[in-house]
């Protein structure tokens, strides 16, 4: 049987439609934080508005789950609902959306971010240094959730492979393997957004 690039997302949706509680827990834990950050940036860091937008996004998406066909990543599909809700918020406030100049809003970058879930490399974009943090975090948000978490635990919190394995409830070897895949996915995604990036040009050197 052929498995498409979003096989795992389709399987999760099937379990949600069947009323599987662990699937809901996984769905919420994986997508709520990402959507909240997605909305927060676009709503001028108004946390109340972001909360309402994401609640509405998830409720509407759940109502349409049966229409998800796995033609795009589930996160991409959810983000389309979220964009609609954000636009509706601005319409109701009779305000134009803020000019946020988010690099990930560029069509090529959106395509590249979507490609992360299936591990391809596409677009060529220059990365401006002032957007670095935003871009790195956005890249992490678009990786499979365990990848993003594991990379943060490893390189920001400084956890050992064994400690990461404990958090993921897998053995050290499996954790190491996951970290390898996570690094590869991050590199692929990040290089597709900011090719030719020279770390020395960022004003810091590898430790």
């Amino acid at each position: 049987m052929q498995r498409g690039p979003y096989h795992a997302d389709r399987a999760l949706v099937r379990r949600l439609l069947a009323g599987d509680q662990p699937a809901f827990e996984h769905f919420f834990a994986a997508y709520f934080p990402v959507l909240f950050r997605f909305a927060l940036k676009r709503l001028g860091h108004d946390a109340d508005a972001a909360e309402e937008v994401v609640q509405s996004t998830l409720c509407k998406a759940i109502g349409k789950l049966a229409t998800y066909r796995g033609e795009a990543a589930l996160l991409t599909w959810l983000c389309s609902f979220c964009r609609h809700e954000i636009s509706a918020t601005f319409r109701q406030r009779r305000r134009a959306p803020q000019e946020l100049d988010l690099i990930e809003e560029a069509p090529e970058v959106r395509a590249a971010l979507e490609s992360l879930a299936r591990g391809t490399e596409d677009a060529e974009l220059a990365l401006r240094r002032r957007e670095l943090a935003n871009l790195v975090q956005t890249t992490l948000d678009h990786l499979p959730p365990r990848y993003g978490d594991a990379l943060e635990w490893k390189y920001i919190e400084g956890l050992s492979v064994k400690e990461i394995g404990a958090r993921l409830q897998v053995g050290p070897k499996a954790a190491e393997s996951l970290l390898t895949r996570a690094r590869q996915a991050f590199r692929d995604g990040f290089s597709s957004l900011g090719p030719g990036l020279d770390p020395s040009g960022l004003g810091a050197a590898p430790r």
Partner: protein, 334 residues
């Protein structure tokens, strides 16, 4: 957070690539955390919505619509049956508004009563051990019958409760109708307000009042106010306790509620129904919105949802958000 408190211990093959990943992540810092309280609130709302969707889907799969058609046809046959035409009075005291599980007419050889069946004075009804039902009484009152309830329809203003529990709702307009009475062998509960429950337990009679007040007729009448519960034990001793109008113990009333016909009704009427059924107070974040809801016409169906599940299904479609806190449903235009 001390980002350098421990060095990665994986410096071997591919180290330059790892160094680049490590450098980028350290420069960017951790992604912002989502506040726990916000996540909890949203999760609760979304989970309720998801559970409601799942239930609706399951009921649809079970052929909900064909069951409804069958029930309607059975109701028509039951009401037109020749054996009932002869002694039927001019107007029924009630009709069956909704039913889950068997509701039988004890006075009529245990016939099962479908939705829409008219009921006349002297009718004796019984719900099965897992059944619940709602009756629409003449005059606009609504009555719910819990599991294992047996009662007789006595007159337009009274019933006799033999077992189980009933919930009466006179529609939020106290004083505009004749007083309604629920009679039991341990006393009669007389409606002075609009929403209350009378339950016969093994060793006690229990009266709970959600809105308005009830007077329990005994040697010395006892008044039970909204937000309280009164128990009369087998020895006649009385005890009282407080009970919120939206206490979880009212849930059975919601589960027995007849469905609200969304199609063509206004959002204002829908919210009034939600407030009445759930005991929640409905509040708007601005007056303009409060005035506008009467003009918003609704379409679609909320069949299969209990009243407390319906705001999450309906309000987002109107571009509205909501929050429930301490029995107050606060509605906002996003």
């Amino acid at each position: 957070m001390d980002q350098q408190r421990r060095q990665p211990n994986d410096a071997a093959p591919g180290a330059p690539d790892r160094d680049l990943v490590a450098l980028l992540l350290r420069l960017a810092g951790p992604r912002p955390e989502v506040p726990v309280e916000r996540a909890r609130r949203v999760k609760q709302a979304v989970q309720e919505h998801w559970a409601g969707q799942v239930r609706t889907r399951r009921r649809r799969r079970l052929g909900w619509s064909s069951a409804a058609l069958t029930a309607a046809a059975a109701a028509a046959l039951w009401s037109l049956g020749p054996s009932r035409l002869a002694d039927r009075p001019a107007a029924p005291l009630a009709t069956v508004a909704s039913v889950t599980g068997p509701l039988v007419a004890v006075h009529s050889n245990g016939d099962r009563l479908p939705v829409g069946a008219p009921l006349y004075p002297g009718a004796v009804l019984q719900t099965g051990p897992d059944a619940r039902a709602a009756l629409a009484l003449s005059g606009g009152r609504s009555m719910r019958l819990d599991h294992g309830t047996r009662l007789a329809l006595d007159s337009p203003a009274s019933i006799v409760l033999h077992a189980g529990a009933v919930y009466l709702d006179s529609g939020g307009r106290p004083g505009q109708r004749a007083v309604f009475e629920v009679r039991t062998d341990r006393g009669a509960a007389r409606e002075l307000g609009t929403q209350f429950e009378v339950r016969i337990e093994a060793e006690a009679l229990r009266v709970r009042v959600r809105e308005g007040a009830v007077e329990l007729a005994r040697d010395q009448p006892v008044r039970v106010e909204a937000g309280s519960e009164l128990r009369v034990d087998a020895d006649g001793r009385i005890s009282r306790s407080a009970l919120s109008p939206h206490d979880p113990s009212w849930q059975w009333v919601l589960e027995a509620a007849p469905p609200f016909e969304l199609e063509g009704h206004s959002l204002g009427a829908f919210l009034a129904w939600v407030g009445r059924e759930t005991g929640w107070r409905i509040r708007f974040t601005d007056r303009e919105l409060g005035a506008r809801v009467a003009a918003i016409e609704l379409h679609g169906s909320i069949a299969g949802l209990t009243p407390d599940q319906t705001p999450a299904a309906v309000l987002p479609t109107c571009g509205l958000s909501h929050r429930l806190l301490d029995g107050v449903l606060r509605i906002d235009s996003r």
